[in-house]
């Protein structure tokens, strides 16, 4: 459609301007963190255009000497373990929910959604009291258990949706051919739903990786995850902005490839629910 009327050009100009403003809104903070992470401590409170060359790599070396790298490790361990456990338990359950003849499926889907959506403060209060008495405060096990409340409903619910897309006939044919249910699940259904399983694992990992609230309440210095440990750069009388910038980047970089894979699935899982 070629349209060069003045009216159209004005409209296009407005549209383009709006997009550029929104692009600035999206991109400036990202750019700002990058700049901040390279800023020399002397120049951190100066605008970048006043001392554009006051840049350094020291901030990156400095943070390796703090406890932040071990906190990143804690994040990997707890997010990884809670994802693994949720997959082991949740994937077969999702399969069964998708294929079994059951009454009460609606209630099951409601419960899973609710567990995924409920504010964590309700879970954390009793868990905290329980953990204080059971000696689970500041342990990997305590945190992994807590994260299971997030990851397990997520994995089960999304695998249910994934397995629902695998044709029933595939499973039935395998059963007719004398495969037992476990074989039908492992050899037929699971390979067919593999993209969904990868995405479910990624989403579960991201939920645990991004968590701040649980870790704030039930970890102390020993097992503090990265989102909690980053708060150590804020002390009563000063804020170590450069380290915060480096830490923010370190928190985001490991999950960027995961986000890239999972994005498509987030859309699929939701628009699957949207289709009439």
């Amino acid at each position: 459609m070629i349209d060069n009327s003045p009216e159209f050009r004005v409209k296009r100009g407005i549209g383009l301007t709006l997009m550029l403003v929104l692009l600035a809104f999206a991109a400036v903070p990202t750019l700002w963190v990058l700049i901040l992470s390279f800023r020399a401590p002397m120049a951190i409170f100066q605008p970048i255009w006043e001392s554009p060359l006051a840049l350094t790599l020291d901030n990156f070396f400095k943070i390796t000497r703090s406890n932040f790298p071990s906190a990143l490790m804690n994040s990997f361990i707890t997010a990884g373990l809670s994802t693994a456990f949720a997959m082991i338990v949740g994937v077969p359950a999702g399969f069964a929910l998708a294929k079994a003849r059951l009454s009460g499926k609606f209630v099951a889907s409601w419960v899973l959604l609710l567990l995924r959506m409920a504010p964590p403060v309700g879970f954390v209060i009793p868990l905290f009291l329980l953990y204080v008495n059971a000696g689970l405060i500041d342990t990997y096990m305590g945190l992994v258990f807590a994260y299971m409340t997030l990851t397990l409903p997520l994995v089960t619910w999304s695998m249910w949706n994934s397995f629902a897309q695998v044709p029933d006939e595939l499973i039935e044919a395998a059963i007719m051919d004398d495969a037992n249910l476990m074989q039908a699940f492992l050899l037929i259904a699971l390979p067919a739903a593999r993209p969904g399983a990868v995405a479910a694992a990624i989403l579960a990992f991201l939920v645990a990786w991004n968590d701040f609230f649980y870790a704030l309440i039930i970890t102390r210095s020993g097992t503090a995850t990265a989102p909690v440990a980053v708060m150590n750069f804020i002390s009563y009388d000063s804020v170590d902005w450069a380290s915060i910038a480096v830490a923010s980047i370190a928190l985001t970089l490991p999950i960027l490839p995961l986000m890239a894979i999972a994005n498509r699935y987030i859309v699929q899982s939701l628009s699957g629910a949207v289709k009439g």
């Binding site: 709006l18 997009m19 999206a26 903070p29 990202t30 700002w32 605008p47 338990v89 949740g90 359950a93 929910l97 998708a98 294929k99 079994a100 003849r101 419960v111 959604l113 959506m117 409920a118 504010p119 403060v121 309700g122 879970f123 954390v124 209060i125 009793p126 009291l129 329980l130 258990f145 807590a146 299971m148 409340t149 397990l152 409903p153 949706n161 029933d168 006939e169 039935e172 059963i175 007719m176 249910l181 699940f185 701040f212 609230f213 909690v228 980053v230 708060m231 902005w241 915060i244 910038a245 928190l251 985001t252 999950i255 986000m259 987030i266 859309v267 939701l270 628009s271 629910a273 949207v274």
Partner: protein, 298 residues
């Protein structure tokens, strides 16, 4: 669900039993990791558990009665409503605008969408810290930029509406790409023939958008709004990092207020009662979402 070749009766029974067995570990795990804490939450909400004052284990509705006359709770609900309303509205608006805009961009510029998606990948604590730095006047490049023109940007975090605005902006920054993703997918699902047909029938662009595109987008918009709304009830990291609920109590949303009552005021029972209220809200909304999703899962 009917199978064309029904296996013999015993086999079907075996099969259904197998399915049930596969669910057992998950049922046990959900029971231990989720239902036990939830039962604890309800139990505590009806108790008088207090970490400092001591506990007599008097059970009753006292916490819920107290909630009715608690001005701080009312305030927290207003704050939560403001954060939810403005945050979700902005995220859906900006997400839709960018999705529609990106649809017109083709060729090598399409790579640019990564710039719009990137904020969605940043963990919320980092989002909060980034925006805290942008709202710190001595540090912020935004303040420095406007200073060049002799314009002083007001300090957002020292007034109630300024602080609420700051949190809404940070929340919008990281979550509009979610709305954008869903709406982009929905737009792709709309056949261009429909819009062309409308144009041939003499409909203006605006009319086409309102009468053709928007109704087709409605389910996606509803889903995005619901998901973002539920999430917005859980506001925590941004409040904790950016304002600590302040200035005063002006950004204590309900979820944060429950945390304050439990872990700062040691009033565990009352905090649990507030958590129960939030839980019931989530239960209502997730019931609705489960209904919407029912066509897929059953």
């Amino acid at each position: 669900m009917t199978s064309h070749a029904t296996p013999r009766r015993g086999a079907t029974y075996e099969l259904q039993r197998g399915y049930r067995l596969m669910m057992v570990p998950a049922i046990l795990a959900v029971g231990i990791f989720a239902i036990v804490p939830l039962a604890g939450m309800f139990g505590l909400a009806f108790s008088d558990y207090h970490l400092i004052r001591g506990t007599n284990w008097d059970f009753g509705f006292q916490n819920f009665a107290k909630m009715l006359s608690d001005k701080r709770l009312m305030n927290s609900i207003y704050v939560m409503a403001a954060l939810s309303f403005f945050g979700v509205a902005l995220q859906v608006l900006i997400g839709s605008a960018v999705a529609v805009g990106l649809q017109k961009i083709t060729g090598k510029w399409r790579v640019g969408r990564i710039l719009f998606l990137l904020p969605y990948a940043v963990p919320h604590v980092a989002v909060a810290l980034i925006w805290l730095s942008l709202f710190t006047p001595t540090l912020s490049p935004i303040n420095a930029f406007f200073d060049l023109f002799g314009i002083t940007v007001p300090a957002f975090l020292t007034s109630q509406w300024g602080a609420i605005t700051a949190i809404v902006i940070a929340d919008t920054w990281t979550n509009f790409p979610f709305a954008m993703l869903i709406i982009m997918a929905a737009l792709q699902g709309i056949s261009p023939d429909l819009e062309e047909a409308a144009a041939i029938d003499g409909a203006t662009r605006v009319k086409t958008f309102i009468y053709i595109t928007l109704p087709l987008l409605a389910p996606a918009l509803l889903m995005v709004t619901l998901f973002r709304f539920i999430d917005s009830l859980k506001h925590f990291p941004m409040i904790f990092v950016m304002t600590k609920g302040g200035p005063g109590r002006s950004t204590q949303a309900t979820n944060f207020y429950a945390y304050v009552q439990t872990f700062q005021n040691s009033n565990v029972a009352y905090g649990a009662a507030i958590a129960v209220m939030l839980f019931l809200m989530a239960a209502l909304i997730s019931y609705y979402v489960a209904k919407l999703n029912q066509r897929v899962t059953t």
